[in-house]
Structure formats: C-alpha cells, structure tokens
C-alpha cells in the first residue's frame, strides 16, 4: 500500500506492507536516528514526534500515520547549527552512549514546544517513558532545563 506522510517537513510517499511497523519503515527510509530498544513500547528509544506529540514508533503501523507529520532528530540541527537541546545535552554530559539520546531529545522538544518554562518535575514527567542506563538521568534533566532557558533568552 501507499501512504502519504510528511517527514521533517518533507512530503513523501511510501510503499509499505500493511503489517509494517513505523520504526522499521523509518529506518529503511534512512531515518537511522530512530532506534530499536525493546519493540514493546517500553524504552522510548524509537520515539518520534507525530504532529508534535511524542510517540513510540515501534507500536505504530506505518499505515496509521497516513497524512500525519513526523519529526525525527535528523531535523533538529547539525554540527554548525545545533539545536539548543542538542548543544545543551553535549555540554551538560547528558550524552553517554547516545543510543537513547534521539528519543530523549524528541520527548524534550515536545515538552518545550508546549511548555517553554518547565520546572524540574515537569521535565521528569515528560521524559518518564525514555529509559537511559548510562547517565542516571541527572544530567539529562539539567540539559533540558538549560536548553529551555537558552531558548527563552
């Protein structure tokens, strides 16, 4: 079947099988920032934004995103023009192995898009579904708060 989606503001037409998982299709189409961690919606490594909402791409069929707008980390920024979340993650030491990082960044972005001035508890709540085994989360929470501050000023 054919589906029409917008990925990182780019309109696309994908040929997919009806049973195909969105995570697999995204990775096949080159969006490698979207990671497999558990395949059961528990770890958040496959997080993408769908119409701005943080979602687990391993729990969605590709067919379910017909006509929707998907955001992946590929759209955030690059070496010369990093998104404040990306640079604050690096500065604060919030990136260790980096495998959970794309999901963390997108959940953080969804939060900041909706609430540019979150307190620590709101950050914790927003990142609750993204598991990280390296950092102990402290520096990730700091990074989100720092990015929020930087984006406000």
């Amino acid at each position: 079947m054919e589906i029409h989606v917008e990925v990182n503001h780019k309109p696309l037409v994908w040929k997919v099988n009806p049973g195909e998982i969105l995570l697999d299709v995204l990775r096949r189409e080159g969006y490698k920032s979207v990671k497999f961690g558990c395949g059961q919606g528990d770890c958040g490594a496959c997080t993408v934004l769908i119409d701005g909402q943080s979602m687990r791409s391993c729990l969605l069929l590709a067919g379910q995103v017909e006509g929707r707008s998907i955001t992946t980390v590929e759209s955030l920024g690059n070496h010369d023009d990093a998104h404040p979340l990306q640079s604050s993650f690096v500065e604060c030491g919030a990136v260790q192995c980096g495998y959970c990082t794309p999901g963390m960044l997108l959940s953080s972005k969804a939060l900041l898009d909706e609430n540019p001035e979150p307190d620590e508890d709101q950050v914790r709540e927003a990142l609750d579904g993204n598991l990280c085994r390296c950092t102990g989360y402290k520096k990730i929470i700091e990074a989100v708060l720092r990015a929020a501050e930087r984006m406000r000023s």
Partner: protein, 776 residues
C-alpha cells in the same frame, strides 16, 4: 613521573568528542551500518531448563525459499571454549561450544537461521523439529553441590585451561580459598561476634542497545565483524577459535556502542553471525530481542555468609567471608567475579585475621557474567551492612567506626597478594587515598550530625552510609597500546585499541595526549578499536581504560613530543630538551617559537623527511583502588513498605578526574543503576526455571520519576602510577546503593534488610518480623 598538578587540558570538562554526532542521531551504531543484501539471523532457544537433544531435523527450514543457512550441533564443529571476553588463556572454564547436544537453561542455543527477512528467519525457526529428552534441572544454587544432584556439565571435554579448581562432576564451576591467621580463635576472642547471611539477586544490565553483530564475508576470504562489543580484540580471537580459522581471517570493527556494563564483555553472538555469513556467503546481521537480552548475561546471584569479630573499642578482629555464587548454566567469569568478592572488599578495612572461601556453582538458570562492580557489588552489600551492625553493637557512630578502621596510605592488605584473577594476586600498597575526606564531605552534605526526627506517623526517615573501593585494571594481565602520528596542520591521529562504549574514553584519552603535546583536545583525532587498524587493547572492563590505556597514550605522546622537540630545535636552535610544547607551538627558552604545523610541514615535506609518530604499550604493576563514601536519606512508609530515597550523596576519590563532567556521569550512572538494583530489579522464575519478567514492563528499571536528589563530590588525589594522577571511576559507585539503602532503612525502622531488592513486600515482611525491636 612528574607531579605537575596544574594542567591545561587534563582536569577540564572538554566536550565529549562524539557527543554532537550522537545528538544528531548520526548512523554510528551497528544496526545503522547494514549493507545491501544483508540477511537477518534468528536463534532457536531451548524451552527446557535441562534436556538432551535426541534429534534435530532442519531439512524443512533449509528448503524454504529465502533461507540461506541453518546451523545446529549436527553441522557446526565442536570447539570447547568460553564466551568470556578475557585475556588468553582465560580463567573461565571451557564449558561452551557453538551448539551442543544438550541444553542447560531456558533460552540456551539450539539452532540459528539466516534468511532474507527477520520474519522469514523467525518462521524458519518454527520449522526446525527438535526432540528433547528432559533431564531433572538444578534450580536452587544451595542444592547444586549436594550429593546426587543432577550433573549439568557431563560432557567429557569441559575443562579449564589454567590450573584452577574445577569439578563439573559436582556442579562446581570454580572454588576460592584463602586464609590469613587463625579465624576461629580470633572470632572467639572478639568482644562481639556477628554472623549473618545475605542474599542478592539476579539482574540484567539492560543496555538500551541490545547485543548485535554484523558479519560480512569479504572478497579476499576474510570476514569483517562490526559488533556491539566491549572487547573487540577478544572477539577476534574467540571467533577465530570457534570458526577454526586463523585470527588473520577475522577483522573486528567497533562502531559506537549503546551501553555495555559488562554484558558486552562476552562473545555471545559474533560466532553465530560469522558462521552464518561464512555458510551463506552473504552479510548477516543478528540482534537480540529484548527478551533474549534479558537472558544474555546477568549479574551473579549470591548467598554471602559473613562472620565478623569486633572489640568494644572499635577495633576489627577477624572476618570470614563465605560466598555461594550462582554462575548459571555456564561458568563465564564465575571464578574471577567471585575472586573480586574478596579482593575488592576485604582490603578496605584493617582486618588482622581473614578467611575467604567461595564455591561457584552451575545451575540450570540464566548465565551470569561480568556486570559493573564484578563481585564487589555483592560482597560490599554484605560487608557494609555488617559494618553498620558492628558499629551499632559497640555503640559507635558508623562514620567514626569507618574512619577508625579504613586502610591508610602506605598500608597494604595481604589480600592483594593472595587473590588475583584466578590465581595469586599482586602485592601492592595504597599509594593514594582520599577516603577520609570523602567520608567527611559526604557526611556534611547529607547532614549526618544534624538533629533529626525519625518521624512518628507512617512515614519514617533514616540515614545510612557506606564506604567502597574497587580497582583500576588487572595488574600484570591487562595490556593497552596506543599509537600517535602527526599531521601537517599540527593535528594528531591517536589510534587506540581501548574501547569507548559510551563512557567517553575516546575523549579522555585525547585529553591525555593533548596535555603532553601542548594542544587542545580537538587537535587529537581518535580512532578506536579496529583490529586491523589500531594497536591492541584488552578492552573496556575491569575499570581499566583511563588508568591503563591512558598511560599507554601518555607514553606514546611523550615519544612524539620528543620527536617534535628534535625538529623544533633544528628550527629554533638550542637543545631539544629546552623546548616546551604549549598552545600548539614549540617554544625555545629564549622565547622564540614555531607552530606545530610548521614542525609537521618541515618533517613531512621539507628537510630530513619523516613521519613523526610513535607507538607505546602499557601494563600495570598495581591496581590502585578508587575509594568512595556514599550517604543516603530514605523515607519509608511503614503501612505500604514503600522506600523512597530522598537524597543520595556519592563522594569519590578517583585520583585526578581527567574530565570531571564525564567522571560525574560515570558516578551518577552507576549510582542510579545501583539504586534500581537495590529497590526494584530482580528475576522472577517459574518452577521450571523460565524467566517470567523478561520485558521492561515486568522488569522495572529506574526512570526519571524515580530519581532522588543526587549530589556528586569529586575528592581529588594524585595516583603517581596513573596518567596525570588518575585512577578509575566507572564501576565503584554501583556498589553503594544496595548496602546504604539497607542501612538507612535500619536507621529509620530498626529493621535489617539482608535480601535485595527492597520491594514493598519485602520491607513489610521485615517490619512484621522485626517489629519487636523497632525501637532499637
């Protein structure tokens, strides 16, 4: 080495080299690198805890269109070996082969398939017919060595390759014994003798990236393996062993790794990818599912019996540490993890009389292996709870009790010489120790001395503290090497075998080279862990990289610096020795300077042309312990049994923190992993030995909401045997939470928890059992 304490690059939190690439989601992990035409592998796993395979028929699976290879014990050579990624010859028993005609735990390998799609591979697994003869399983480690227990390793070719105790006929995978002094007499003579049993549980590392490996057959007959590993050079050696090919046929590449924590210090899947690639002549990718990951490798569950004697004046008289370690179905890391129960815990205090003995037993349960902390976690759990109990039994403050008894600088412990990695150890005396300061600063941060109420209603509060040590590398065993070459713009290529698994070692090693060469860290371009390209290194384990590989880097950089000085002296005049390297320049004593790029241009293009470059190796003669004091405040709801950690303080002496932010990251990550282990992580088996909670839904690990307030305090010391005074930092802090939370719960309730994790059910049961002395 010089004891220069002011550095220009070392000690600064320079940005992690791969940080921004990872934050862009760049395709840097194994699964991001699959070539066109790649096949997908799946593994058929045993549904039984203990069974003999009497027949296996893979003909239907093999005939399926799109299935390219099927492996099982009938068509793969039997080569006994270990999966443990350790130096050769390994101290782990050779009790494993690619496929056996026997299965020894639920999840053991039976067959493997490579097919065009993952779905097809899974379907093919379902078409393999296997007949099993069920055998009685051993599911309780306490019964494993009982006479008449079913024998798990009855194959005649299981063996050890170094002289260590191994009696598979008794289900004994390893045994450790050491004694210093007359233990019974010393215990009898002590004013107080305490004897307790502790039990800590199975747990899994849960790296967010599961184990995965891509094997590609190359046109020249070699096989390139890109794998999520902590030990690329051990992977090369062990895969060559399994495939019965020379090491030169195997090329191992380590991409970025999505966390390891010990689980990936094991050659668990690379042999299968490589075999399947060889048979199918196609690239083959194998990635474990999350449920398979839970059964990959685990922490050794242990029963620790501890007898200690202490006098009224607070002096320690004797310790008897007795460990029963469950290694599961195979013995990988069993001996060495268990040795560490003694060698990384007993030297912390000044015990005049010591006994340590341990049995490592086979069971038909998931296989244990290396897990951050590596045996120290389990033994420190027992020791630090008992230290608390001893202090209270003589009416001494637990802080003062530890201050009085911990090892001092210049002192040694007979344990260092007696216990090594399977054999005798290496004597060493303590060269650097900041433990006193860790204890004092930690106590201040938590408010140890403040007047406080333990609460009267259902919510009770308490404080706990513990002290910890670990090591830095395996002395006389581990080797790390580095090479450096200079480029024409004054940058350098640093090639290391050392394996950055997310820890930031590429960055730390670049800082060490940059410090020597007088440049910024970004002028040092790091290539790590490619067995065709970089020099050897044992890999990322035993808290070794900064201390061991860092010193190899420093040596190579010193050699390169000498070569730069020589060229610079030709340009500037004067003796090479008089030239300093700083800010990307070579400076003569008269103030004249040349840029390093000018030195490089001259050496590469102009006069007496040569490549400025060097290689160096390093082995260590000691394993200097980092030290740490942890403090925690908990709030326990005595109606529900819920334990909430309010505040956690970790004060750590890791020598010089080469990169403080990265060092803090190691500490915080280890603390939270340890808290998660202490409060919620455990394996739940059914009565047939099958793991019931093999998903993140049923096996809870800490998330952002569970996080207490954490304060990290770095207490600098200077370890003269390490690069710029550095020791290790990666493992030590995972050992704290298990005992410190138990001690804090005792402070709150007067109830001791000696079995982890401290779930509400267990806390409530302990309250019911111990409520009579709630007022203690």
């Amino acid at each position: 080495m010089s004891r220069k304490r002011s550095f220009s690059v070392v000690g600064r939190s320079v940005l992690k080299k791969d940080g921004l690439s990872l934050a862009q989601g760049a395709p840097l992990f194994c699964e991001d690198l699959l070539p066109r035409g790649c096949l997908y592998a799946r593994v058929l796993r045993s549904p039984h805890a203990h069974a003999r395979i009497t027949a296996i028929d893979s003909s239907v699976a093999e005939s399926m269109e799109g299935v390219h290879a099927v492996l099982h014990h009938g068509n793969v050579p039997r080569v006994m070996r270990t999966t443990a990624g350790q130096g050769a010859p390994e101290p782990s028993p050779y009790d494993f082969t690619t496929f056996d005609n026997k299965v020894r735990f639920v999840g053991d390998r039976v067959a493997a398939v490579a097919a065009e799609t993952p779905q097809l591979a899974a379907e093919a697994l379902g078409r393999i017919k296997v007949e099993y003869e069920l055998l009685e399983p051993v599911l309780d480690p306490r019964l494993a060595m009982q006479p008449g227990a079913p024998r798990i390793h009855d194959e005649p070719d299981a063996k050890v390759v170094i002289p260590v105790p191994y009696e598979p006929q008794k289900n004994m995978a390893a045994h450790v014994d050491m004694q210093i002094g007359d233990i019974e007499r010393a215990l009898d003579d002590a004013d107080f003798k305490i004897e307790r049993e502790y039990e800590c549980q199975y747990a899994q590392h849960t790296p967010i990236e599961p184990h995965c490996a891509l094997a590609e057959p190359l046109a020249d007959g070699r096989i390139r393996i890109t794998t999520s590993t902590q030990v690329p050079f051990h992977v090369r050696r062990i895969v060559a062993q399994a495939l019965e090919v020379p090491v030169s046929r195997i090329h191992v590449v380590k991409p970025r790794i999505g966390g390891g924590f010990g689980a990936k210090q094991e050659v668990l899947i690379e042999d299968l990818s490589a075999f399947l690639a060889m048979r199918s002549r196609r690239p083959v990718f194998l990635r474990l599912s999350r449920s398979e990951e839970f059964l990959s490798r685990t922490r050794h569950s242990m029963i620790v019996r501890l007898r200690t004697g202490v006098d009224k004046d607070g002096s320690l008289k004797a310790v008897d540490l007795d460990v029963l370690a469950n290694t599961g179905a195979y013995g990988a890391h069993g001996l060495t993890v268990t040795c560490n129960c003694g060698s990384k815990v007993l030297p912390l205090y000044r015990w005049p009389v010591i006994r340590f003995s341990a049995d490592v037993v086979y069971t038909n349960l998931p296989v244990a292996g290396a897990y951050r902390g590596y045996g120290a976690t389990q033994a420190a759990f027992a020791m630090e709870i008992q230290m608390d109990e001893m202090a209270r039994s003589i009416g001494m403050d637990p802080v003062d009790f530890r201050l009085a008894n911990h090892v001092r600088r210049g002192e040694t412990s007979p344990v260092f010489a007696a216990l090594g990695e399977g054999g005798e150890g290496t004597p060493q005396s303590i060269g650097s120790i900041g433990l006193k300061k860790c204890i004092r600063e930690g106590a201040r941060a938590i408010g140890w001395k403040r007047r406080r109420s333990r609460g009267k209603g259902p919510l009770r509060r308490g404080l706990g503290m513990v002290c910890l040590m670990q090591g830095s590398s395996i002395p006389q065993v581990d080797m790390g090497a580095a090479s450096i070459k200079m480029n024409e713009d004054g940058s350098f290529n640093l090639l290391v075998g050392a394996t950055d698994i997310g820890t930031g070692s590429d960055t730390v090693l670049a800082q060490i080279a940059a410090e020597v060469l007088g440049v910024e860290a970004d002028k040092v371009l790091v290539t790590s862990s490619d067995t065709d390209v970089t020099p050897f290194d044992v890999g990322a384990y035993a808290s070794s990289t900064t201390y061991l590989s860092g010193e190899a880097v420093r040596k190579a950089a010193l050699d390169v610096a000498g070569q730069i000085r020589k060229v610079a002296s030709e340009m500037l005049g004067g003796a090479p020795k008089a030239i300093r390297l700083e800010n990307g320049r070579a400076l003569a004593s008269d103030g004249k300077a040349v840029l390093l790029s000018e030195v490089a241009l001259r050496s590469l293009y102009e006069i007496d042309q040569h490549q400025i470059g060097a290689m160096a190796s390093h082995i260590t003669r000691k394993s200097p312990p980092p030290f740490s004091a942890h403090f925690a405040e908990v709030e326990v709801d005595i109606q529900t049994g819920m334990v909430k950690v309010l505040k956690y303080v970790a004060a750590v002496d890791c020598g010089t923190a080469i990169n403080p932010v990265l060092a803090e990251g190691q500490i915080e990550g280890a603390v939270v992993n340890g808290l998660s282990y202490a409060l919620c992580e455990e394996f739940i088996f059914n009565d047939k030995g099958k793991l019931r909670n093999d998903s993140f839904r049923d096996y809870k690990i800490f998330c952002t909401r569970d996080l207490p307030q954490i304060e990290t305090i770095l207490v600098p010391t200077y370890e003269t045997s390490g690069p710029y005074g550095a020791k290790s930092v990666s493992e030590i802090c995972i050992n704290g939470p298990l005992p410190v939370i138990s001690n804090a719960i005792f402070d709150a309730l007067g109830v001791r928890l000696r079995r982890a994790p401290y779930t509400p059910e267990r806390v409530l049961a302990a309250i019911r059992e111990g409520s009579k002395d709630l007022v203690e």
